[in-house]
Subunit: 277 residues, 2 copies
Amino acid sequence: MTYSELRNQIFQKQSYLCVGLDTDVRKLPRHLLSEPDPVFAFNRAIIDVTADLVVAYKPNIAFYEAQGPRGWESLQKTLAYIPKNCFTIADAKRGDIGNTSGLYARTFFDPEAAGLDFDSVTVAPYMGHDSVMPFLEYSGKWVILLALTSNPGSADFQRQAVNEQELFEIVLETAQNWVGPDSHERLMFVVGATQAAELSRVRELAPKNFLLVPGVGAQGGSLADVSRNGLTSDGGLLVNASRSILYASSGTDFAERARAEAQAMQQEMAIQLSVIS
Amino acid sequence: MTYSELRNQIFQKQSYLCVGLDTDVRKLPRHLLSEPDPVFAFNRAIIDVTADLVVAYKPNIAFYEAQGPRGWESLQKTLAYIPKNCFTIADAKRGDIGNTSGLYARTFFDPEAAGLDFDSVTVAPYMGHDSVMPFLEYSGKWVILLALTSNPGSADFQRQAVNEQELFEIVLETAQNWVGPDSHERLMFVVGATQAAELSRVRELAPKNFLLVPGVGAQGGSLADVSRNGLTSDGGLLVNASRSILYASSGTDFAERARAEAQAMQQEMAIQLSVIS
């Protein structure tokens, strides 16, 4: 999906919601456990009730890997089931030396390899440019680079002072230089919603790049703060919610409760979008 | 495997060689392609001819993931085939927020989850303590944290000046503090052989921790330099070679040529060990 297609989806659906398909087999509603593939059955139900309200889906790969080979099969089926007008994110946080990053890129982008064809993958920046650029050798695919994450440990290294900046600011600037003047068409950054105070600094350093923002909801970030500091005239945000939607109920009504949670977020997003347009 | 068991293996085998099982299905000797699982058939042959010469095996997970579910099956079989007196490393470079890192830990450490029971996993430090510590909740398991990697991109962030140090030095010090005074019993660091000039600084900052050293051979690092700057009285090094051993020949003699390469490295290691003891 291109930058302008993503922009159009946002204004058409009046939403910049991303649902994190962090599907934990230990948290599934009981009545799904008799399905042949309970994880896929759950994801399919969540996608069915949210697809008109969201612009992106983001399976966190750890949840599938922890199930071994059958987890990868659930992931393949889930990705194939996501409607084509939704942006897809492999939240894998990969990164290795160049030729090995190239294999991770194949895994998530080349359907002939592992049966997956994501639009984007999250990448960790610590190993530098040759760990990131192989992902962009796949035409039309995106890198979403970790910049300032939502967890407590983000303070350990990301906020270390480097020259007169913090490390995450160096990451934001450096990575845009790797990709070039139109970096916003291929490169997004992860910025946690729990870092609302820094979000406007992020926006100054990366004025056009989309920001993938986890941490609203269960982790405590505020959608209003994130939107005020992060929205651009093209949208420019993908705000992720996982647990608050997936596990809104653990009963047979899990899907309708998930839809209600997603709808509440979408409605607040429609209001925020009306402010900027 | 404990620190002292690993130390004993090193002195018994007179080797601190780790073979990187970076098995690329596109580089396999042709005669193996008719096997039911060519990747496993190749790994089994490599293990058969090197197990008496090496102390560790390190499959890079990207090579298996890029094969989809059947790649994970090859990985399961490979890990089960490695003799119990060899240390095993899942070279995965994972790292995520706490609860998700916990799932990656389950993947590689809990055989009930994904059928894998590695001794250790490589972890990326960018997300800080709560991305690393969940791996150490598994009794007897190790974290091998990226510090100063062997690739060109290591200069981008790892060598940024932070206070009067470089970022990788902050990582080395901070991570030892997370684990405590006996950190060397659970925590190793990745330091590339291409960074020989920095290896003695690394050793000053982490005097007892094992260092996993990739980059000897195909990437150009020198075994003699690495050994002189990195060996401790307990060994303290795992020097990895992948391509130079795996692909020493692409013909039917690949296994005997792999053994010859491994043996040459082991013999040099025996000499280096005699210097320190």
